[in-house]
């Protein structure tokens, strides 16, 4: 019986691997905005921060005829800071963004998307569902950064748009770069082939010291302040369990080839309590429970001065694996014998590989990538974790996904009010387990 189950599982894995890897999709001719041999592939950058600019660099560094033709950001200074290095590095032949194609403000994305064949979506993640929907509506291929939403309505929107993108044969790559990193791919190949047996437990970590703060300026409206400090507000960032730890949570989903049915956990705001840190927690510990009973433990924290750790370990019926972004993948059995030890020196840069593979498919007129669904479901997994730690309750996947609590503001304007506002002392309301309603 056991053997039968294993085989069945592997068949399922193979089928899904084909879908994810593209062998089944690659023969489908492309019907989207860009057709093979059409000449220059025009790209638009929506979200001109450091990561967006990095993504544009990678797109322009692919070996295809790619040109940046439009840029959009809520802030003019961010757009200018992005344009300068792009133009200096690539010149007019690859960065042709005249003043009239630099779009600023909350609606800028629509105009930039209209100019391009492929759009790079790299704003804070709260905007992703809106921008992704518009890009697919306008028949564009998409590279979008993770996470892809910050609340359940956003996830459902991305899932619906993902279906639409598939129907339209639009390539969508999500920037969960471990999926494009050689050590992870090599390990997963072997695990799918049964090298570790069934995965029965695991631990995933993003324990680090936290990120930047941009001090409040007197002339800023509350909306501008929150946008500048997007990391500390859930409608924009999703908390660090979503914004950073999604990487490791996604690896858990990848190795289980599934998504959890429920989660329970604990978290708090313990060391990082100042008003400059908005409303997010500084630590979360979550148990994700999968339908076969597997419990995967996730831990993330922003504690300065403590041990850092960003990696993943999993245990199977036949052995274990250790994975980390430093090009490590080590599979061993329980006698200590090495099954596979990845030699990672000189591996390609996974951030570049994402773009190399996406643009190769587009240039060849192939439909190969539909990452949006799994991007949305892994984002949903991280939200499930946040719901569990914020509420102190066990949260079921289906209940969480169907939640109608939206974190997004009613209107987007500099003088509009976000839903979470500071009190007289400048402090923001913080989720209290046992009291706060999250779904």
């Amino acid at each position: 019986m056991k053997e039968f189950d294993l085989n069945k599982r592997r068949e399922f894995l193979k089928a899904s691997a084909l879908l994810a890897g593209g062998a089944m999709l690659s023969s489908i001719p492309l019907a989207g905005a860009y057709a093979a041999g059409k000449g220059t592939i025009k790209i638009a950058l929506v979200g001109c921060g450091g990561r967006g600019t990095g993504a544009a660099f990678q797109a322009l560094q692919t070996k295809h005829d790619v040109k940046l033709v439009a840029m959009a950001d809520a802030f003019r200074d961010r757009l200018d800071d992005s344009y300068k290095p792009l133009f200096e590095k690539f010149g007019k032949s690859k960065v042709d963004v005249p003043e009239g194609k630099k779009f600023v403000g909350f609606d800028a994305y629509k105009k930039a998307i209209a100019e391009a064949d492929v759009v790079l979506l790299a704003t804070p993640p709260g905007f992703r569902p809106i921008h992704f929907e518009e890009a697919v509506k306008q028949n564009k291929h998409v590279f979008m950064e993770k996470p892809v939403a910050t609340d359940s309505p956003g996830i459902r929107s991305v899932l619906a748009t993902a279906e639409e993108a598939k129907k339209k044969k639009l390539n969508v790559v999500v920037g969960l770069q471990r999926r494009y990193q050689k050590n992870y791919r090599e390990a997963m190949k072997r695990i799918e082939d049964g090298a570790l047996g069934d995965i029965t437990s695991g631990q995933v970590y993003w324990n680090s010291g936290g990120v930047w703060v941009r001090p409040r300026k007197p002339e800023q409206t509350e909306m501008e302040y929150q946008m500048r400090n997007w990391y500390y507000f859930n409608w924009l960032c999703g908390d660090h369990i979503t914004e950073q730890h999604i990487h490791n949570i996604d690896v858990a989903n990848w190795i289980k080839n599934d998504y959890p049915v429920s989660a329970q956990g604990t978290g708090s705001r313990f060391l990082r309590t100042g008003k400059e840190y908005g409303e997010i927690y500084d630590n979360h510990t979550v148990e994700f429970i999968y339908k076969d009973g597997t419990v995967l433990q996730s831990q993330c924290r922003h504690f300065e001065g403590t041990d850092n750790r960003v990696d993943e370990s999993f245990q199977g019926t036949k052995g274990r694996v250790y994975l980390s972004a430093d090009n490590i993948a080590r599979l061993t059995d329980y006698k200590g014998n090495v099954i596979y030890d990845h030699a990672g020196k000189g591996d390609p840069n996974p951030y570049q590989t994402e773009h190399d593979e996406l643009f190769a498919a587009i240039a060849a007129g192939q439909f190969k990538f539909s990452d949006a669904e799994r991007g949305a479901k892994s984002t949903m997994t991280s939200l499930l974790g946040r719901y569990a730690t914020y509420s102190g309750h066990e949260v079921k996947w289906d209940d969480a996904l169907n939640s109608n609590i939206s974190l997004m503001p009613e209107t987007f304007a500099w003088d509009a009010k976000p839903k979470v506002l500071p009190d007289a002392n400048g402090l923001y309301p913080i989720a209290i387990p046992g009291k706060t309603k999250v779904i």
Partner: protein, 333 residues
């Protein structure tokens, strides 16, 4: 005059800073004595070793095993006395500079405005210990700019001028009066007693000071982590000294790449750990940085680079100190 509110640059003038930092009045320091530097207002401290001035042959003889052409011609170099870190700088001392909130938890009182005014690194997005541990382990992955700003933070904290060693000072300190490939001789087979390197490191850093020191009492000059120097890496730099003695030479950098790192690391083969071996920093150390411009502060692919502090016996003028600490970073993309 209220010293606590005085601007940073005024405090640096004259003796004012030493009255502000009474625990660290190293202006009286005997240049021949080793000392322990407390980080004012915290329990943190580190050891400095007095190195006498002198003359040595910089570079390696043509017959040295593993020698590369950038190590010649060997030439005499005169060095003024200085103190150098007994150990590589550890995370214990480096991390309070990285994290302001953490520094507060390490401090006996509030952090002075002068200290607070020092620019701090952007918080690293990744785990910059690379899973290799923190306590007593060398701090790694910082850029040369970051290393210099750390010196500035120490200056604000202690009133003592610390900087990176020049390439010449580093090699003089490493050779410790010898002219052999390693400070203990030419036989790489003995390296395991003195250094963490590829053959014995298990591909990670180790606690500083856990191998034998050189004759001048300096630990881990060979291996553990490669160490930043002040100099631009110029492969044929030594040619200009042919036939004349150089005095305190330094190739003052005017480009972001490459800068010299010395000593080899836990990842390197024996030959790279030789005292005369020279390596240059490489943009590839930031290849994987997903942001543009890339970080001024961190090398996400250089777990092998760290630093060691130098304090010159004769400190430079206030203006020179300011110039050294206050160079704007070069955008990297």
């Amino acid at each position: 005059m209220n010293l606590s509110k005085a601007p940073f640059h005024i405090l640096l003038a004259g003796l004012a800073c030493f009255t502000l930092f009474p625990n660290t009045a190293q202006s009286q320091q005997n240049s021949k004595e080793n000392y322990t530097q407390g980080v004012t207002g915290t329990k943190l401290k580190f050891d400095m070793v007095a190195i006498p001035g002198g003359e040595f042959m910089m570079g390696s003889p043509a017959n040295e095993q593993g020698r590369e052409t950038d190590e010649g011609p060997q030439h005499p170099v005169k060095i003024d006395p200085f103190w150098i870190g007994k150990y590589e700088v550890t995370w214990d001392v480096f991390e309070p500079f990285v994290y302001k909130d953490y520094e507060l938890t390490q401090s006996n009182g509030t952090v002075s405005p002068e200290v607070d005014a020092v620019a701090r690194p952007t918080k690293p997005y990744l785990d910059m210990t690379f899973g290799m541990g923190k306590e007593n382990h060398p701090a790694v992955g910082m850029t040369q700019y970051n290393a210099i700003q750390f010196c500035k933070w120490l200056y604000a904290r202690t009133g003592v001028f610390y900087r990176l060693p020049t390439e010449a000072e580093w090699e003089y300190a490493s050779k410790a009066g010898t002219n052999t490939a390693y400070s203990f001789g030419n036989n790489a087979a003995a390296l395991g007693e003195h250094a963490w390197y590829k053959a014995n490191s298990g591909d990670e850093t180790h606690e500083v000071g856990s191998k034998k020191p050189n004759a001048w009492g300096l630990y881990d000059m060979h291996g553990n982590v490669a160490e930043w120097t002040m100099d631009q890496y110029i492969p044929d730099y030594y040619k200009k000294f042919k036939g004349k003695a150089a005095a305190n030479p330094v190739a003052v950098p005017d480009k972001l790449y490459p800068h010299v790192v010395r000593g080899g690391s836990f990842q390197d083969e024996a030959a790279a750990l030789r005292s005369a071996n020279r390596e240059g920093s490489d943009p590839d150390w930031k290849r994987i940085d997903p942001q543009i411009p890339k970080s001024n502060w961190w090398f996400p692919e250089a777990p092998f680079v760290g630093l060691r502090l130098v304090r010159p016996v004769n400190p430079p003028s206030e203006a020179e100190i300011e110039a050294y600490y206050n160079q704007a970073p070069t955008p990297d993309y």
